[in-house]
Symmetry: C2
Subunit: 220 residues, 2 copies
DNA sequence: CTTGACTTTTCGGCTTACCTAAAATATACT
DNA sequence: AGTATATTTTAGGTAAGCCGAAAAGTCAAG
């Protein structure tokens, strides 16, 4: 069995790969708040494992092998199921679930995973709108259209939000930008803040917010 | 924050102290399945901590200080609340809960503890009849009267069972010796197996069983 | 093509927790 | 009391992860 540590490295690599094709040592170091030297060491170990969990070449960054990806998705499934369970069954707010899931994800059994998935009705998305991988390691595409990219006049719905920062999530709640909330963009000036009609009132939303809220067409 | 490891040492010391006044190095080593040398090292470290978590004198064994006892009870509260939650909310059998709780106990937050305690209605006992310590670190006396000590003719009720061995618990279930099950001892020959009437049928129960099932008077 | 800034890796060291083997201590028995 | 046996402790060593400092490698600007 892999250590919590190893699991967190694989998960971090997966998440960084979502944006870029290859992950750098320094990006990984920052994400995990460890020194770059520590990342190099760990990544070399992951590459030497049987089977190799990452693809690594000196000075070229790192990517996941199929084996590594499988494990990353398993941990992510745990994480997102736990987040949803905490929210649905124990009344956690969406800003509180991440920290708790970050630790629980490494210690639950497959039975626990199955039981909470069953209680939740085999859910497809976590409280932040991220897709929950299946037991078999398949995962749907996350919604990637940022609110900042919406043009004036369009009506959309909140489909996913960045989940790392509790304060950000609390702020979104206050603004009424909760999951599935419908909203209409009334003005979208070049580079400036968007005017958005949400929950009955119109608000100016900074780029710092609209870049981290993802939306889908209302009809879907 | 203390490591899972440290927490398991303190818990093991607490549990061994329940039987004896002082815990030996070898008893701890066996309980934790580590070498005696490892126990000596760890115990010395616990004694050197600020504040000291154990009372230790070379070759004299070990006991908990107030600070150590507090932590042990906190971990045990986690363990027993989690066991009950798994049984009540997720449909685990009483033989499955221990292993899962053994890992979860170290990673849940105080919020999680409070939330499941509330869902369960501030329960007093875990699925094996062990008392659940309060948030404040108080704990009721566990039921200590072994079934093997009951005299012929008495009617009693299962109040607590040893919880370490899943196979033992499965066996108890088959025998109908579940928590709160009423039973009548019909014959109790000196040192021999007890005859016990339980769930409508009479059974011969070996010492290996009756020593690990604890009972209380029915009226209580 | 060289230089300098930046990134990555290597090196030597630290901590925690474990081990085995050897030494020290305690206990039990004659 | 003296000795054998059992327990406990010390000593020396390993493995995972982490660190800072120094060395090596990359790459873009001149
Ligand atoms: Mn984690
Ligand atoms: Mn999430
Ligand atoms: Mn444990
Ligand atoms: Mn129990």
């Amino acid at each position: 069995m892999l250590s919590s540590n190893t699991e967190d490295y694989l998960k971090a690599i997966y998440e960084l790969l979502e944006d870029s094709g290859r992950v750098t040592t320094s990006a990984l170091a920052e994400r995990l708040t460890v020194a770059p030297a520590s990342v190099t060491e760990m990544v070399q170990k992951l590459a030497r494992m049987q089977p190799a969990l990452v693809d690594y070449e000196r000075h070229r960054g790192v990517a996941l092998t199929e084996a590594g990806r499988k494990i990353a998705l398993e941990v992510i499934r745990h994480h997102r199921l736990i987040e949803l369970y905490l929210a649905e069954a124990l009344g956690y707010g969406w800003h509180e679930v991440h920290a708790e899931a970050e630790r629980l994800e490494h210690v639950i059994s497959e039975e626990f995973e199955d039981k909470i998935a069953a209680v939740l009705g085999q859910p497809a998305h976590d409280p932040h709108g991220d897709p929950i991988p299946t037991r078999e390691g398949e995962v749907a595409e996350p919604c990637r259209r940022a609110l900042s990219q919406v043009t004036a006049g369009e009506t959309v719905r909140v489909a996913r939000v960045r989940d790392e920062d509790p304060a950000f999530l609390t702020h979104l709640t206050e603004l009424g930008l909760v999951l599935r909330a419908p909203l209409r963009v009334t003005r979208a000036p070049e580079g400036g803040p968007l005017s958005v009609e949400v929950a009955g009132s119109t608000r100016e939303l900074e780029r710092a917010i609209t870049d981290h809220v993802f939306v889908e067409a209302v009809g879907v």
